[in-house]
Symmetry: C3
Subunit: 352 residues, 3 copies
Amino acid sequence: MTYPKRNWYVIASGDDVGSHPIARTVCGEPIVLFRTTTGVAVAMDDRCPHRGYPLSAGSLCGDEIQCGYHGLRFTQQGTCTWAPGQDRIPSRARVTPRPVAEVGPWVWIWTGDPAAPEFDRLPLIPWFADAGWAHVHGMEFLDARYGLLIDNLLDLSHETFLHGELIGTPEVAESPITTTIDDDLAVVHVSRRMASVECPNFYSGSTGLRSPIDRWQDIEYHAPGYYLLHVRVAPAGSQPDGLRDHPQAAHLKVLYAITPIDDHRTMDFWAVCRDFAIDDSELDTFIARSNRDVVLQDVDALNLIEARLGDTWEPAEVSLKIDSGGLAARRVLTDLIASERPTTTPVSVGSR
Amino acid sequence: MTYPKRNWYVIASGDDVGSHPIARTVCGEPIVLFRTTTGVAVAMDDRCPHRGYPLSAGSLCGDEIQCGYHGLRFTQQGTCTWAPGQDRIPSRARVTPRPVAEVGPWVWIWTGDPAAPEFDRLPLIPWFADAGWAHVHGMEFLDARYGLLIDNLLDLSHETFLHGELIGTPEVAESPITTTIDDDLAVVHVSRRMASVECPNFYSGSTGLRSPIDRWQDIEYHAPGYYLLHVRVAPAGSQPDGLRDHPQAAHLKVLYAITPIDDHRTMDFWAVCRDFAIDDSELDTFIARSNRDVVLQDVDALNLIEARLGDTWEPAEVSLKIDSGGLAARRVLTDLIASERPTTTPVSVGSR
Amino acid sequence: MTYPKRNWYVIASGDDVGSHPIARTVCGEPIVLFRTTTGVAVAMDDRCPHRGYPLSAGSLCGDEIQCGYHGLRFTQQGTCTWAPGQDRIPSRARVTPRPVAEVGPWVWIWTGDPAAPEFDRLPLIPWFADAGWAHVHGMEFLDARYGLLIDNLLDLSHETFLHGELIGTPEVAESPITTTIDDDLAVVHVSRRMASVECPNFYSGSTGLRSPIDRWQDIEYHAPGYYLLHVRVAPAGSQPDGLRDHPQAAHLKVLYAITPIDDHRTMDFWAVCRDFAIDDSELDTFIARSNRDVVLQDVDALNLIEARLGDTWEPAEVSLKIDSGGLAARRVLTDLIASERPTTTPVSVGSR
């Protein structure tokens, strides 16, 4: 396995990008990130063209980044404006700038041809900007290949076993799913609708609902790196009424951005958006802590699998019905890698 | 070097195998171990056939082991009895069970064909079961290939230098040895009989004997992984009288089970059996601590050699007379690896 | 890149070589060092020929080194004088002794043919022995190839950025240099003469001079591993008067010995000699601490570059005028490696 590069990946939370350069690696490429005095996030190859020192170990000089070793300075377009003991700057002393885009709390980077970013393929993620929604977010590093995280997220039956204390109940593992693939858009849909089931701690604690509830999980996986779980939890039997949902229904969008660091490491960005109690900062804390705990349980599990896989790419496996989503995602990814063809990631219409 | 697999190796102390699964690696293969409610030790491949999660990270569900990721359950025969969202379990969803046998404090695993364990080749080790004997035991991990431990144990002249404070005296290194090989049984015998020599701390502290003593060391090495040192210490001049030994003679069986983890790591199981003061628990502690100290000195020394060897398998060496046992063991092992022929490890008749 | 072996390298400070053997690795070869009762530093291959145990883990037995595993003893010429259980020592049981030479605080080792050390190629370093000079010294381990340290030392414009607090001022990066190569001697000279410039903390703190000063940096790099920076700092405008320098001028010799451990690690030996306040022990402390801080800043920077380089030997680079010294050094080194021809390192005549 490797990764498709003609794509956008989340590289950082916007919070982490400021006037001190930071280093990240995406798809095997070291990138330096910083924010200009006017607030623009900038990404460039994290390597001074002179002697290879990481620019992320340097500092900002106004809106230019200065190498910490010999002081070469580069604009955010990558042009060298100063070099020691030099009147004329060699034209090869350039750093490649990388297209970035901020969408809510996330900074995306285009890992394809830097000269041809496809901005129309950026996910819009309306809930980050909608005044009727609140969100919390975070990121964990994973010592596992990104494919294991995709497997994990596309098959939520594992919630029952790995996340029993937080979001798993027996019904999750038992309930059937429906899986559909949109090959043209490289999107996989997996839907699990549970009626009159137990309310897990995460949702009772956040929404106040009590068992039994109706619980919907509708996944959209936009290959390669954007995942969206539409959650509807509501008192059992309270179906949406045509255009309007039941007043006690709560909706959450559980988002993941899956970013390969290299063949064996991944950044696992997550955000949880909600349309209830949006000004409740204690609830922010509860949801952020709970979702981080879930993510850390996944991290531990996937790191264990990766450690056993080593350099094996196609381990012997036995697939079950629950894996239809994960298998679909693998197929879509394989096609994407094979063709590096453009995919379009439209605004999610969701299941709200 | 590699290891012969059609054999029994000690994989764990029985103490360590209980209702919480544990992970061990033997001959490069990850194994999960647990004990059923009826007390039977069970070993299986430590990998869920579904998505490769280590079963050792799961838990017991009655006498079945349940994967911690998606909840698949397996009997101790490796049959899958439950999988999420599945009425019919795929027949390929099986885990390979591994033959095990408990002999005293040790759990042995058969690393050959799981369907054809050769139980007649298990060492019987009578002193573990004999009411006239007491024993203590332990295990240390070694960051060195198992061949270095075999070299070490077959040539006890190193006691003088590496274990001078505990079991080595000048006479050990100075005394000649006799070495014989039983090629059919893949057993090497090395014998060193010392008359009227200094009594080292380990034996004065455990037996109360004082210098000078007669000290016998009779080694049996049963390739690949079982080693037995028959020790007789007695007042100088007190030869056994035909069938009966001198009343002040003390006998110890110092056992090692040498288990390759992989090409560069080893489990070093040890046990010390004695036929004196068998109800003395302070003596248990003294012997266990002293022998562990000896083992840790070996561990440090062999790890140093391994670190220098790296991937070298046949370093330039100069062999001495003291190496006749180690060289014989290497030849027997090489033959065993080459042929993977069955060897028979009979009950040791010993030199008691 | 690799390293020329027909050469002398500094392997240790003499302070570190005593009656307890120590282990060092030079050009990929493990070496044991110790000092005899008569005070002679001895170096040998750090491997017992019997079973490969590091001799550095053994101990001295008079002036012989004794293996800690089986007790073999070797003279400082590498002859085995004792082996356990052996009347006749096998002639192959020999350790190769390595030629060494102590020059001031440094112990040099000859890594070429042990039978043919070229003592005439040892640097003499007169300031270590001259009663008119004082010196301090130290060593840091570098997780970077030695070529990166040579690049670093041959281009002092980096002082302005990496060592701004200590020895760098804007003028260093701005001032032009002259570079000359003596191909026959494998010596590179780089000279930077700064007139009426700022006095950095290192020199104001050590000499008491105040800005503006005249500051001279005259480098001699003797490939592969000896580097000498002649420093003259003096009140601005105070040129040497023919044979005699200005009474307020201070002179320092900043020496580096660059020793490859292996392809990716280096020992960075340094010494600072001065011709002023030579009995001032507080000044010793100030200079030693300051120079060590400078070295540690280099260590951090070069380790970062090495981590990115991995196994790459010829990264894409853009060279500047300031790199003329470094590029010259690389060419001289490449020639040296290619030919392994003898080079002569004469006594430095310096610029004092």
